[in-house]
Symmetry: C2
Subunit: 289 residues, 2 copies
């Protein structure tokens, strides 16, 4: 099974749990709406790429870790899109969850997706019991307090914002979790050594996201664009200009590749990361800088 | 350390994580507000009582399980109190989290408390790696889909409600998780056998809650009363009358005690459960039925 199919299959298995007889059907529908059809799945692909480079000797655990990372990403989108935050009407080219199902079910679908991430990991505990703790710690720390994506989002509620913490927590933390969890799932002796790769990829992705927000259309992106400028949010484009932001993205991608720890599949992973980095540059800017 | 001190200490350790330097301080304050000062702590006491009856040979894991159960209970209160659900202004005698910190931080504090429950468990993984999966599965299933408390709450968003599923999921599921997780943390060979005790205690607690809503004052309870009647919610008092509800509570408590599985501390646990059951009856009704 290729990586994309493996991710979709793991996510499908997870979401199916919500559709058991006797469970509230609209909650299950809202969860499915939040997870499918797929987005870029960039974080779970990263988890599986790292697990693969480390030998991937417990594929069921790596698949569960990848699914958990994506479920948490989807949960954060559901809650961040709500009227009390971004008030986004569309996501992945269709109505956001609260527009389709109402705010109460958006709150609950987000909650249920967070929990589902950990249920998904618990279900494969027996394939490598001693690895479950490190994987869950990596995943939990990537989304929770003190420095995960929920903490990152909470900076929007502070009177005084630490911008670098805000960006690192809101975006970088889940990329770091994706790499560390992938390495831990494959039994890498120094899973924490993979954090730097995730941090740098997260920063690169944040710049790429700023670029897309500046140059793409709502149709091509499937969500509203130009939001950074409208909301006065910090952005690499505002800070460095378009060409400068593209150059920064390339620099960060190279720094990320250089941070890949020693592992059996190091060369292969380097090639894959460079290829993925190319895809981060919006097509209409691919020749710039 | 007695049970109450052990629970408060575990919760204090957990919440302290949010207060690290570099984390958003208002999120940490909202989380602390949601967890302290203490409520009845009835669910974590149940977890420790079951773990104790099963030998409690890994106390750090049992304490973490108890804290996780209570953190998830607090998270559900934070989200359920929000304007899109119960719109409750007070909780435990002070403003609800969204009244004190605003809706965005209520959403995020609830999210962070859910995640903190699993982080807390992951942190003690090494004391008994092979038990972590069963404990996390019990905890996750008690709060998530298809039959946990989030699913229970979601029945309020369905056009057609299955009342028995609603009550069992919304209240009973976390009691069942509290018993199963306590048994699993202590290495009981048949942790699932403890579910029936939790189910029955959860049902008893639901009846007790209905009684309190009917006969207590907002001052004595620390939250609004008479809400079931105002919102037309199903209630044991509406169904059986006051005396009938007290009788039902007593019947359920006895059935719960009878469901305690064989374990080293069975006699002690029976005595403890009967004593706890007495406390469930509101004082002004304690001589009725």
């Amino acid at each position: 099974m290729d990586v994309a199919a493996r991710i979709e299959s793991s996510l499908a298995d997870a979401v199916l749990l919500a559709e058991a007889s006797g469970a509230p059907p609209r909650l299950a529908a809202a969860m499915r709406h939040a997870v499918f059809p797929k987005g870029a799945r960039i974080r779970p692909r990263l988890t599986l790429a790292v697990a693969g480079a480390c030998g991937d000797d417990r594929p069921a655990l790596a698949s569960a870790a990848a699914a958990a990372i994506e479920l948490l990403h989807c949960a954060s989108l559901v809650h961040d899109d709500m009227p009390c935050f971004d008030d986004a009407e569309t996501r992945r080219g269709k109505p956001s969850v609260h527009r389709a199902f109402g705010v109460p079910l958006a709150v609950l679908a987000g909650d249920a997706l967070i929990i589902l991430a950990f249920q998904t990991l618990a279900r494969v505990a027996t394939v490598a019991p001693e690895r479950l703790g490190p994987v869950i710690a990596a995943v939990g720390d990537g989304v929770g307090v003190p420095f995960g994506i929920v903490a990152g989002q909470a900076w929007e509620c502070e009177p005084k914002v630490d911008l670098s913490e805000y960006q690192r927590q809101k975006t970088g933390a889940l990329f770091a979790a994706a790499t560390v969890a992938g390495a831990a799932a494959a039994g890498h002796a120094e899973a924490e050594a993979w954090r730097l790769l995730g941090d740098r990829l997260g920063e690169a992705y944040q710049v790429a996201d700023d670029l897309r927000d500046a140059v793409e259309t709502e149709e091509s992106l499937g969500k509203p664009v130009g939001r950074d400028a409208v909301l006065g949010r910090p952005s690499a484009v505002a800070e460095f200009g378009l060409d400068g932001a593209v150059a920064r993205l390339r620099h960060l991608s190279e720094a990320a590749v250089a941070a890949i720890p020693c592992c059996p599949g190091q060369a292969m992973l380097r090639a894959l990361m460079l290829q993925e980095a190319q895809r981060l540059v919006p097509r209409k800017l691919a020749t710039a800088a």
